[in-house]
Amino acid sequence: AQSVTQPDIHITVSEGASLELRCNYSYGATPYLFWYVQSPGQGLQLLLKYFSGDTLVQGIKGFEAEFKRSQSSFNLRKPSVHWSDAAEYFCAAYSGGYNKLIFGAGTRLAVHP
């Protein structure tokens, strides 16, 4: 079955530190891949997406993600975290054959001053 796994439920980093959020997918073929961010009480905002081509994708708010086919991963990174980045982050995958976006369980990011 198609699935998206985010191994880390909670992550805490210090402001200014680098960040990597992990995401693995299980699909028969390479799906379209997305990262969304959800601030408390808010809807989901698209950070970036990967369809094909360059495996390093740049997004908004200084985030980037790297697609690695050999590892079935699409990890999200940011070189220097800001306090405003504290939120929940969702990795998601879409396959045209299944016509739905499947989400990981989310990673809640806390940022210490």
Binding site: G43, L44, K100, I102, F103
Partner: protein
């Protein structure tokens, strides 16, 4: 419109009552999705509309849940005889085929 609009933003209802949640997608988006997010949980797929095709209802948790999309635009999610376990945030999203989804701010449903 500029974004996906959902109404109401908050709804408190008594157990056993019916509720209707509305989603107004981005103009021109052919696909519309409903998801449910329970407290501390991820997003659970409910139903998917694509153009004039029959909707994918595979995620609806029970026959108390139904949804329709009129004229390929506005969608209404109806929950009949609400139960406390229906309390959640109901999110709507729309997209063009193959593109990223744009989500609304959601309707927070509380069943008391």
């Amino acid at each position: 419109g500029a974004g996906v609009s959902q109404s109401p933003s908050n709804k408190v209802t008594e157990k056993g009552k019916d509720v209707e949640l509305r989603c107004d997608p981005i103009s021109g988006h052919t696909a519309l999705y409903w998801y449910r997010q329970s407290l501390g949980q991820g997003l659970e797929f409910l139903i998917y509309f694509q153009g004039n095709s029959a909707p994918d209802k595979s995620g609806l948790p029970s026959d108390r849940f139904s949804a329709e999309r009129t004229g390929g635009s506005v969608s209404t999610l109806t929950i009949q005889r609400t139960q406390q376990e229906d309390s959640a945030v109901y999110l709507c999203a729309s997209s063009l085929a193959g593109e990223g989804y744009t989500f609304g701010s959601g309707t927070r449903l509380t069943v008391v």
